[in-house]
């Protein structure tokens, strides 16, 4: 059972590394959004550093959501989803493997690149590690909430924008606590750990609920 799990994980990682269009594109998109914001707001560094964590979080959220509709769609098209459904591995574990692979190729690089991109929005040095930390524990929630949405829209030929429309309202709590944890590291009355631990809880909850919901959606689509 764990061999099948690792096989799916390795397959998705290999596909992401060799076929392109996955993780590195999300990173470039992240960079583009961060670059666009100062053009819209004006290059006022004081303002940018104050809203820096919020910009980074919005950028990460959008970059994670944009490519998500392909998570199950390509498998549905080439038939490997039918094989996964028919295998002895429970569908929930297969979804867990695919969600984990998605996080490893998009969420993890985004979190690691965030301090570097924070320089562009004049993020103070003290806030860099907290922002990267919140993204590190918050992005799994985005991957798995998104996986449920991706499973619902797996068989859609003209999905496109529907996935962000479905998933974005559900990611609001993650965004609230991710940004408030990052901001509390910049100073303020709330200790950093309070929103940070809630963020961890949200991620754990999303991993369970998202996996079960996505597996249910994939089963229904047969």
């Amino acid at each position: 059972m764990s061999r099948a799990f690792i096989a799916i994980l390795r397959r998705d990682l290999a596909l992401a590394a060799r076929a392109g269009g996955g993780g590195e594109l999300a990173l470039v998109f992240f960079l583009t959004i961060i670059v666009l914001v100062p053009f819209a707001l004006g290059p006022d560094l004081n303002l940018l550093s104050r809203i820096g964590p919020a910009i980074l979080w919005i950028g990460a959220l959008l970059s994670m959501l944009i490519g998500l509709d392909r998570l199950f769609q390509s498998d549905e098209e080439d038939g490997s989803l039918d094989l996964i459904r028919a295998s002895a591995l429970p569908l929930e574990l297969a979804v867990l493997a695919k969600g984990l692979a998605h996080w490893l190729v998009t969420g993890l690089p985004l979190a690691l690149a965030a301090p570097l991109l924070g320089l562009l929005v004049a993020l103070p040095g003290a806030a860099m590690a907290p922002v990267a930390g919140t993204l590190l524990v918050g992005t799994p929630a985005l991957s798995f909430i998104g996986a449920a949405g991706a499973a619902l829209t797996a068989s859609l030929r003209r999905g496109g924008l529907i996935l962000p429309v479905l998933v974005a309202p559900l990611t609001i709590p993650v965004l609230i606590f991710g940004v408030s944890a990052s901001n509390s590291a910049l100073g303020g009355t709330i200790p950093f750990l309070t929103p940070f631990l809630i963020l961890c809880a949200l991620s754990l909850l999303a991993i369970v609920v998202g996996t079960v919901a996505a597996a249910a959606a994939l089963r229904q689509a047969e």
Binding site: L152, T153, S155, L166, P169, A213, A216
Partner: protein, 253 residues
């Protein structure tokens, strides 16, 4: 439960709803007429809020109904997934636009009341924001219905989405207790009885009944339309298959 199973036959449902509908529409007209009369002419103006209090008579029932229709959709979602009840996804599809309209009415009337009273149309307060999220979820559900062609498959996908989105409902209900909001806390359904004066409570309850009947009547009409639409769809497919077969028989000859 037995009556629910009997209703699973769409023909029986159509017959029953045709009998029920005129009565519901009549009761709705009566309740709305009495309620609006009381709300406009009998209920006193508030000593602080003046005449704007009358907006509340539409705002509060709309908010209740937006939550009620979402809860009904979640129940229908369970009906679709667990019992494969054939009318559950019809009920769910018909409820989504009605619930979305009530959510929109609630947000708009709230904004019109908020401008003179709070001095702003909108604040990012927990109650207001969670209601806006409910509207977004409604719109997402309607969008998903429109993108999936096959009704039974769409029904199951939307049921899962509806159940995921249900986490928002308790957040809306209890947002005024959990957070320190600008929106006032619950004053009708609370421990220890309502805090509204009876002269305003009665018009509110009668109007709430009227609006509920309006929502349920619209729901029944929309369900009947959806059943007819599916019949037409099935007949069209059967007719196309028949023509196809005829063409295949004609070709070799």
């Amino acid at each position: 439960m037995a009556s629910l199973i009997e209703l699973a036959n769409p023909t029986r449902f159509m017959r029953l709803s045709a009998v029920l509908l005129p009565w519901m529409l009549g009761a709705m007209a009566l309740a709305l007429a009495v309620g609006f009369y009381l709300a406009w002419f009998v209920a006193p103006a508030d000593y602080q809020q003046g005449e704007t209090i009358r907006i509340m008579f539409v705002h509060v029932p709309a908010a209740w109904l937006a939550l009620m229709f979402y809860s009904m959709m979640a129940l229908s979602g369970i009906g679709t997934l667990v019992w494969r009840h054939p009318l559950a996804d019809v009920a769910q599809k018909a409820a989504a636009p009605i619930g979305a309209c009530f959510a929109l009415i609630c947000l708009l009337t709230g904004a019109f009341w908020g401008k003179p009273m709070w001095g702003t149309y909108w604040v990012w307060d927990a109650r207001l924001t969670s209601m806006l999220v409910l509207l977004l979820i409604y719109l997402g559900i309607i969008a998903l219905w429109r993108t999936l062609d096959d009704p039974s498959r769409a029904g199951r996908a939307v049921a899962i989405l509806t159940l995921i989105g249900f986490v928002n409902i308790p957040i809306i209900k209890f947002s005024v207790d959990w957070w320190n909001t600008l929106h006032q806390p619950a004053s009708v359904f609370r421990m220890g009885g309502p805090t509204i004066h009876p002269s305003m409570l009665w018009p509110l309850l009668i109007l709430a009944l009227g609006f509920t009947l309006l929502g349920l009547s619209l729901h029944l009409i929309a369900m009947r339309a959806e059943i007819m639409r599916r019949r037409v769809r099935t007949l069209t497919i059967l007719e196309a298959e028949r023509l196809d077969r005829l063409a295949a028989q004609g070709a070799p000859a």
